[in-house]
Symmetry: C2
Subunit: 342 residues, 2 copies
């Protein structure tokens, strides 16, 4: 065992994952792994691929039970987990759920968690196929593993984008972070005025709070792509933030990107929250994560074809030569070079 | 959200898992789940079944880094995880690894963990196909998901044992708990005399310590069963303890069991530790877990057939009518009814 001590921060999460990637166990030929993709891919013959993905959700880091009802948490964890399969253009069919829970949780809380998972799974035709339940010290840790499938023709990786491809995003962006800002404000208020039992009225923020607590994975998009035989050249789901995801597509595909800030699809409810918070809504859109929208690239013809059948997506930019890096053009025409910031 | 608060202890782990089993998401026909088995089973057509399993390992509950080198921990986690696939008579081929680690861990510790996983995976021809790395507060939580396969003819569940079947166990039992007893004694000594820098000499306990820190999953047994077309009527791996596992086979199969204490395969090294600790070695064998041996049932003819080709297993009893419950016959001929104890 090594006696050195290099802090994780020194390498960073990404650096550490890269350093660990050389430990791959057996180099079975049947299993193709492209590190950095949303799911692992297992070749099964017969033109079918199996997709496996797993995510860990840690109380305090990934969720805060003080403003997250357990039923919503269960729903969100399933949405987030199966979104990784959609991001590969695949269809999820089963999940395994591992709970490590402290004793202070009640049977009702865990049951609510399962009710939320059950609801999301039914919407997406996914089966809760098993899992494990163990104890933990002070906080809850939940791991979800997802099993899905995709044909060899349809599988979409992060590395297939070409110069000139349209960068598309479904739905709208920044709503989940707007919801989080509201919930955090309410939590702070609650902590300061806790015993006055004033129930916060979140009705006017329902849209953004819902997007934070119960985001929807975009099964409809995958169905549409399949129905019209449109295959993205690359795809990723929006979990960390738009800039982070587009950077990932650029790095994996060896291209740059030119984004138009004015094109970002932002809901009016999200703008309203940013105004109220006196914050920049474009920052919500560019850096807020967890929207579970899909970000994908299409050739110009395919983007036009998709637009004939499906309206809930927006072209927000174009892929460019790698040397140009990631550029954002503001509404005022200013060009911001994002490579300088990352 | 429910306002009641029922402590988890009131239902118990098993009761809670049972209560949660009604939340199964979509009831897809292609996915057969038998709650309580080692892995979830997905029907794929073509006579092939996919096996999925996942386990969570929590620092302090499932492992103690103060006497567990990270490389050994990685090895053990892989062994334990893929053992679930062997327990279904299947072959594992890929794992996903989710780490939630506190910042006090070093890059070297995590690298050692991966080295241990890598080593175990290579022995079992399993690929580390992906995973996730997140932060955690004070302790490490590791989830391993395993993907494996088995044919419809060969899949072995916990529920197929019949009256008269021989109860078999591979290798020897109780060694892992003996190793744990030694490590805990050394830890205590270390805590009391920490600064005298006396390195403990564990050489004479190597066998049992190895069985605790780096147990082997029994690929050789599965290969032998396949080679001679011998299919157990039921099977489970030894993780919680022999009595616990046999009880599980009995409950799932609707039978009782009669075990012979004198037949329990116990290594001389394990007996030595029990003597030194002034403890009952049969308790190690019956209640100590983590040996990762396989416990299975065979018809009398099949048990004889297996014995012609493979010597590393022992018949420790027979399945009996359900109404007879679980009985252990001691070396002195006394009958202990275990249903009274559970």
């Amino acid at each position: 065992m090594s006696q050195e001590f290099t802090p994780i921060q020194k390498l960073g999460r990404k650096g550490l994952i890269e350093a660990l990637s050389k430990y791959e166990g057996s180099s079975s030929e049947g299993i193709r792994t492209i590190r950095g993709d949303d799911a692992a891919v297992i070749k099964k013959g017969g033109g079918h691929l199996i997709l496996l993905s797993s995510d860990t959700f840690v109380e305090g880091a990934d969720f805060d039970p003080s403003y997250t009802p357990f039923s919503h948490l269960g729903y969100k964890m399933i949405s987030s987990s199966i979104s990784d399969i959609y991001a590969m253009n695949g269809i999820p069919s089963a999940v395994l759920v591992n709970l490590a829970v402290p004793n202070r949780l009640s049977v009702e809380m865990i049951t609510d968690l399962y009710k939320g998972m059950d609801e999301a799974c039914k919407i997406h035709n996914v089966k809760i196929a098993g899992g494990d339940l163990t104890g933990n010290h002070n906080h809850t840790v939940i791991s979800i593993s997802v099993y899905g499938e995709v044909s060899e023709e349809e599988v979409t990786y992060r590395n297939g984008a070409s110069e000139g491809d349209a960068i598309c995003v479904t739905g709208d962006v920044g709503a989940a972070i707007a919801g989080l800002r509201i919930l955090m404000r309410e939590k702070k208020f609650w902590e300061e005025h806790g015993n006055q039992s004033v129930q916060p009225d979140l009705a006017e923020y329902k849209f953004v709070v819902q997007r934070q607590l119960m985001p929807e994975a975009r099964l409809d998009v995958i169905k549409t792509l399949k129905a019209y035989s449109i295959k993205p050249t690359s795809m990723i789901d929006l979990t960390k933030g738009l800039i982070s995801e587009v950077t990932e597509l650029c790095e994996q595909s060896g291209v740059g990107a030119h984004l138009y800030e004015a094109a970002l699809p932002i809901a009016v409810e999200t703008r309203h929250v940013a105004n109220e918070m006196e914050e920049d809504v474009d920052k919500y859109a560019l850096f807020g994560g967890e929207d579970l929208e899909l970000i994908f690239t299409l050739s110009e013809e395919q983007a036009e074809e998709l637009n004939k059948h499906f309206k809930d997506f927006t072209v927000i930019g174009r892929m460019t030569p790698e040397k140009d890096g990631l550029i954002i053009q503001t509404a005022e025409g200013e060009l911001i070079d994002f490579d300088d910031l990352s």
